[in-house]
Symmetry: C2
Subunit: 108 residues, 2 copies
Amino acid sequence: MHEREFRAFVSIAETGRMDAAARQLGYSQPAITYQIKCLERSLGFKLFTRHPSGARLTGDGRMILPSVRAVLMLMDSIREPQGDRSGELPDEGAAGGTTLPLVRRRTA
Amino acid sequence: MHEREFRAFVSIAETGRMDAAARQLGYSQPAITYQIKCLERSLGFKLFTRHPSGARLTGDGRMILPSVRAVLMLMDSIREPQGDRSGELPDEGAAGGTTLPLVRRRTA
DNA sequence: CCCTTTTACGTTCCCCGTAACTATC
DNA sequence: GATAGTTACGGGGAACGTAAAAGGG
């Protein structure tokens, strides 16, 4: 359940290959194997079936793919909001609220 | 940008105290200080202002809180989908699709 | 002085790369 | 024997707890 594992998972799902994901993300192949193994262990089910031709998503893997993509997009959006600092709030107390002024993005 | 940092962040935001968050999450206070320090460093801005009375959200901290909560909820939903295995898909090739059968939940 | 957070330090465990192995074609 | 993935192993760094210190009422 770590971000880098999620990125590896999506990359493999898209390319169908672990070594391609490794190159894309700047890791060695064993590192990718390890990351996916950790992710599968923490989730309790297999994400890919391994073949000589590459790695293919299982039903479970395909099931969580959209949520994983959503997590990564949210994380990217959390990283962004630097640069524009004009009308920011000064300080505030403990927050119990639910809906709040979503992350500020450069483009919007 | 790790899950445990996010949980610490939300817990502090809700309680207004680092030591309360530490107790709630089962860590020592220094561990919480360390986690928030790491998170602030990786984000590039402060999340809390520290006072003798506790820790209070900065404007930036308040800004990302909803997205952080969303990430945690998504992660919980990714962990859940075990237990119901009746109509699951067998296997499939590389997935380039965008919208897919969201994570199956016990309640819905 | 009390309360909350931070710094210091040592230990443990995680994550990665290199190297060697296995499996399928 | 080529390609894709896995296992083995050692090193560097991350994350924690205990202990001690610092900052404000």
